[in-house]
Amino acid sequence: MNRLRFAALASTLCLAACSGAGDLPANIVAAAPSPATSSAKPQATAFTPPPESAIPNDEFGKQIELGRKIFTETAKYAPGYVGNQLNCENCHLDAGRLAGSGPLWGAYSMYPAYRAKNHHVNTFTERLQGCFMYSMNGKAPPADSAEMVALETYAYWMSQGEPVGKELAGRGYPKLAKPVQAPDFARGEQVFKRDCALCHGPDGQGQMAAGKMVFPPLWGPQSFNWGAGMHEVDKAASFIKANMPLGRGNTLTEQDAWDAAYFMNAHERPQDPRYAGNVAQTRAKFHDTPQSLYGVEVNGQVLGQGSAAH
């Protein structure tokens, strides 16, 4: 428990540094989080993508439309590259259009960029491939695959008219200030039961209807794996604060968002595909941040065993 507390406490001290290890280009995260509650609201000046009614009715438009479908029903339209029951849209609301919810238009013009996650300059293509390997727990579609062409066309179309290389308001998830209290499993469990279980189920495994996953699983074999950015507590807290419960974003307190994020990410999920032979080495190599609970002991269990066959 002491170790945990230390990790959680330390996590609050290096918010900006830790973000660099995840899915944001390193040159962006230097932007200081603004203090207190106002930090969670997307600014009014966020870029507005073109309406879907403006998708042209031609060959180019067909690729945009296919990209949109991949985004909203990923396993159906990108079979072979998805290893769980998530869709891109689960964490990028409104088919990747919504400010404060990791919109595609917020990322598109920021690449190529250096990423601390893999220590080199990534193209937008490689960034999308990472989503499939980690968040979708699947395989990277080749750069020239039909799926990748469609997704990139969709993102390009959505980003029309925006400046290149300029950090737009509404990109990513709005950074939270460090929590007043270190994120806590027991408090997070209370938040989960009160505000999350209605949709995500009492066991966090989501809910299906008519053969489709309606509410995504938050952990376990059908969720994102240990390599996904969302497994880091600060990123999950930012997403939760701005967007959850669905349709009632920004109604949880920041502390509740931190605690719920900690609780979610203190559960097992599929192994990191970069697994380096054992959990300790994998942590040292890829998760050396207090925001990651990979390899950390929580409630007597060392996390990072991987909950799915691999």
Binding site: L198, M208, A209, K212, P245, R248
Partner: protein, 216 residues
């Protein structure tokens, strides 16, 4: 309440439940004849097949989750879901009768969808995509593909009379219905215009439950 009163109330409750069990009618009988103690026959308003009545705005009960129906009866009785017709009915049903009736209606086949009357394309857009710049989720994001319903807390919208769905959305707007978990529906309804309500309810009324391959 003193412990003694609580004890007497419990005793009274137990004896009522006991007498109901002794010769309790089955769901079909209760639904068509009522219970003789103030609960009118459900079928009089909700239809012989539980399909509801469009003209009067009475909802379909056929194929709805028993647990959802049980909660609504409870909320009618307590007044959290305000309804002058249902409050006395729900109050007159004891726990066993509620369980029998809700299981009965859950087991019935949903009716076929209403003929399409929707002329606006706004309905399917709200249902499938919502209006996120305004923070309005798509209805299907909680109520499932085609509005078939999800679990016990997100009831089906498909093949419900449009008049019923519209009345509920207005009740959420006006605060006369407030039994939504996490205030989800009050938040959603506040973002809908009168035209939105007409469009989206007409669209769901015309959706077939069977088309989504759902069995009740």
């Amino acid at each position: 309440m003193s412990a003694r009163w609580a004890f007497l109330f419990t005793l009274a409750g137990l004896s009522m439940a006991g007498s109901a069990c002794a010769g309790s009618p089955d769901g079909a009988t209760l639904a068509t004849q009522g219970n003789g103690r103030g609960a009118a026959p459900c079928a009089a308003c909700h239809g012989a097949d539980g399909g509801g009545q469009t003209a009067s705005g009475y909802p379909r009960l056929a194929g709805l989750p028993a647990e959802y129906l049980r909660k609504q009866l409870e909320d009618f009785a307590s007044g959290i879901r305000g309804n002058a017709v249902m409050q006395p009915v729900a109050t007159a049903l004891n726990a066993d009768e509620r369980a029998t009736l809700t299981a009965y209606y859950a087991s019935l086949q949903p009716p076929p969808a209403a003929p399409t009357t929707a002329s606006s394309s706004a309905g399917p857009v709200l249902a499938d995509r919502g209006r996120w710049p305004q923070g309005l989720p798509a209805c299907d994001q909680c109520h499932g593909p085609g509005g078939v319903g999800v679990g016990n807390s997100f009831p089906p919208l498909a093949a419900q009379p449009a008049s019923y769905l519209a009345n509920q959305l207005r009740a959420w707007q006006h605060g006369t219905r407030k039994n939504d978990p996490l205030e989800l529906m009050r938040g959603v309804a506040a973002k809908l215009s009168a035209a939105d309500i007409d469009a989206v309810t007409a669209w769901y009324a015309a959706q077939s439950v069977a088309a989504q391959g759902v069995k009740p």
